[in-house]
Amino acid sequence: MRKLIGFSCAIALAAAQTPADGPSTAPLFSKNCAYCHGSRGEGGRGADLTTGIYNHGGSDADLFKTIRNGIPGAMPAVAITDTEVWKLVAFVRKLGSAGIGEKAVGDAGAGKAIFEGKGHCATCHSIGLIGGTVGPDLADVGRRRSLAYLTESLVRPEADVPIRYRAVEVVLKNGGTVTGIRLNEDDISIQLRDTSDNLRSFTKENIQDIRHDKPALMPVYGAILSGKELDDVVAYLNSLRGEQ
């Protein structure tokens, strides 16, 4: 009975509180969440938390409940206080909404033209169903990512490459090389999406080496675009808010 009363109190307490992020939350996330959700919330064994899409409910109360209780068979509950759970709710929400409220200085229309033309961005990146799949889909990147993050991604693409988009180069024993992103791997074989968006599979008996020393496939746009053009592309990316 004591535990039942305790649980009821917890619900009441939960209802009375609201999410509040703070400087102490990053270590809290790192300790309790990052093993599965990635150090930046980019996902892995657990869901990608930067999408702003939450399979088990997106309200503050839903997120609280998910973190508090876990998901049977899928995600463990964490042994932290309710206050700490609320901090994580705020932290997670921010992971999926860093660009909201920011105002870009560039011209989004001009940026769109560069994205589709001179920049050849759509070769690798899709917006919805249009574009390549070697890089991340950008349909809602303006909501998820801050202006600073978007700018850095263009001028220093290797700064933060989601692990599923890291480049690998397969050096074959016959002398050929294939570059792409790793889709899967075990001790017998590796599967890639190559830079031409083809699915490729190689058995390791035919592989000389698998190299990981160039993490990003993306060109350094600081060397391709002017400062104004970069601002325009960032403005266009910031305008991509998904279907919310």
């Binding site: 004591r2 535990k3 305790g6 649980f7 109190c9 917890a10 307490l13 270590p27 790192s30 300790k31 309790n32 990052a34 093993y35 599965c36 959700h37 990635g38 150090s39 980019e42 996902g43 892995g44 064994r45 657990g46 508090r68 209780n69 876990g70 049977p72 068979g73 899928a74 995600m75 463990p76 509950a77 964490v78 042994a79 932290i80 206080t81 309710d82 692990i163 599923r164 790793r182 889709l183 899967n184 791997e185 075990d186 001790d187 017998i188 990981h212």
Partner: protein
């Protein structure tokens, strides 16, 4: 080749001679190596070699090995069990605490025993179970809610169950390991070292379930070594016994590994003492549970480097004298050889990358390198990783090659100093009982591999790049610590290995690659793409005179044969 055929015939004849079915007597357990067609205890034999003298499947024909049958577990939890086989019947535990009896030739279910745990249990790392023990006509199983259950091996009927401890006390106890039968007793370990519990090892009367003795792994007031804990920290110091031990009938000694002290990553309240008998092996009189000796691998540990590995007992000549020895690939990254008569340290050598230890004094005490403790912000400079160079996964020793096979974890991880919570400080905080392992929800790659987030554990910061961590089967000369060969795999493993007289070493990876290696060279001779995570160790047996090899992969027991 002629000799091999003769050997096969001799073994087959031997199995037929011993084809007595039940009961499994103490004498049969003592000489389990003489019944290679059966697998009578968790580690195969009391010396925990996990070696089979079967050689129908051998290096010459293993390329023809193929799936004979599958047992579909249909569960989400990790499948850590090692089945037993007694004369054509396979007995296995299926998560959480069900027992299945199968026809070992076809995998068809003969009977099922289901045990219902409370909704909330206090296991740290999945609602798992590693297997059974058998004596007479009775199977024994530990349960997550801290019971020892006796089940009739012929019918699956529950004979009795006895409470080991209040599973909800002290923030939570559980029992996940396979029991060990010694004479008329069932030796039972317990888990909970992630909580402020107080560890012990129990022996129960195999007939009645009555407690025969209890060894407290933390010295009680008035006992030797009590002063190795600061203040009252001994009361909640952890030191659990969650895996299975070994037994030496010549000296009537049970050897059992102990876990980390609690709190795992923070010694502020435990003080500078050694926190005995944490991260140790204890040698106990099998009749009384009295301590004969102990050896501590990692004093006052702050890395969760449990010493709950299965002790491997080897008799060999060392420095010109016949010796009774114990080989131990420890979670702290060092391979140890001890004298098992007295615990005397012989040597220790690293078998994975390590950063924490300069060397050992003549008693085996490590010379700690500063800067290797966890920090609140996270220390990523420590190796081995938080799951250790070895963990609970059993090793194997072949008396033919005289090599010990270890499936090691060579990885870099982050260590974070935790805050200390006593009991349910906050009653609204769900205990770890709410924790369920992710089971088969394996993230983007489906197989839990050495890519984002693969592997076990929970609540740990993200691991580093796959290229910084890997697994490897190593063949170690246990008398020198020399690594003779290494077979590297993509991901730090969670499965053990088994060796056979067919000159083979079997195992499975986190991506589900089930492999057979040449026991002398480490060359991979055969593989099967199981495509789900292996959290268990292989075993091998005969059914109708033919050799099979079984291993749990995903929620399936995959059993392989030649024809």
């Amino acid at each position: 080749m002629k000799n091999r055929r003769a050997c096969v015939l001799a073994i087959t004849a031997s199995v037929l001679l011993h084809a007595q079915g039940l009961p499994v007597t103490n004498d049969r357990l003592l000489h389990a190596d003489k019944e290679p067609g059966n697998w009578l205890m968790y580690s195969g034999t009391y010396n925990s070699w996990r070696f089979s003298s079967l050689d129908q499947i051998n290096q010459g024909n293993v390329k023809n090995l193929h799936v004979k049958w599958l047992f579909q577990g249909r569960h989400n939890e990790k499948f850590e069990t090692t089945p037993l086989v007694v004369d054509g019947i396979m007995y296995l535990t299926r998560p959480e605490n069900d027992i299945y009896a199968l026809d070992a030739e076809t995998g068809r279910v003969v009977w099922v025993y289901s045990y219902r745990n409370p909704e909330r249990t206090y296991n740290c790392c999945g609602r798992v179970n590693r297997g059974l023990a058998i004596l007479g006509k009775t199977l024994y199983m530990n349960t997550l809610d801290m019971h020892l259950v006796a089940v009739d091996a012929k019918s699956g009927r529950e004979l009795w169950k006895t409470g080991i401890h209040d599973y909800a006390a002290d923030d939570g106890y559980a029992a996940t390991g396979a029991p060990l039968i010694v004479k008329d007793k069932v030796i039972v370990g317990m888990a909970g070292g992630e909580h402020p519990v107080s560890g012990f090892l129990d022996a129960y009367d195999a007939r009645t379930g009555k407690l025969a003795w209890r060894f407290h792994t933390i010295p009680q007031p008035g006992e030797a070594n009590f002063g190795t804990w600061a203040g009252d920290s001994w009361k909640t110091g952890g030191v659990t016994t969650w895996n299975t031990g070994s037994y030496d009938p010549d000296t009537n000694t049970v050897f059992w590994g102990t876990s980390n002290p609690w709190p795992d990553y923070n010694r502020d309240e435990r003080g500078p003492g050694d926190n005995l008998y944490s991260c140790s092996v204890v040698a106990l009189d099998a009749d009384t549970g009295k301590l004969k000796w102990h050896f501590q691998f990692t004093p006052s540990d702050t890395h969760d480097w449990d010493s709950t590995q299965v002790p491997v007992l080897i008799d060999a000549e060392l420095r010109g004298r016949p010796r009774k020895l114990m080989a131990w690939a420890n979670r702290n990254g060092f391979f140890y050889l001890l004298d098992r008569l007295n615990g005397e340290f012989q040597f220790a050598k690293p078998f994975v990358r390590q950063t924490w230890n300069k060397g050992f004094d003549d008693k085996g005490r490590p010379d700690i390198i500063p800067g290797n403790d966890p920090t609140p912000e996270g220390n990523d400079k420590i190796q081995p990783g938080v799951d250790g160079g070895a963990n609970w996964m059993p090793n194997s020793y072949s008396p033919i090659t005289r090599l010990m096979y270890v499936f090691a974890r060579d990885e870099r991880r982050m260590f974070t100093k935790n805050t200390i919570r006593h009991g349910n400080d906050d009653d609204t905080v769900p205990g770890p009982g709410a924790v369920r392992a992710p089971g088969n929800t394996n993230g983007m790659f489906g197989n839990g591999g050495n890519l984002p987030g693969g592997g076990g554990g929970r609540g740990r910061p993200a691991r580093f790049a796959p290229e910084e961590s890997w697994g490897k089967v190593i063949a170690v000369d246990p008398l020198t610590g020399t690594i003779r060969w290494e077979y590297r795999v993509l991901t730090p493993p969670w499965g053990g290995v088994t060796s056979t007289a067919g000159n083979l070493v079997f195992g499975g990876t986190q991506e589900g690659v089930i492999f057979a290696l040449d026991a002398r060279t480490g060359e991979r001779l055969w593989y099967f793409a199981g495509n789900d995570r292996v959290y268990a160790s292989p075993m091998t047996y005969l059914a109708n005179g033919k050799q099979y090899m079984s291993l749990a992969v995903g929620d399936v027991i995959a059993t392989f044969g030649l024809d």
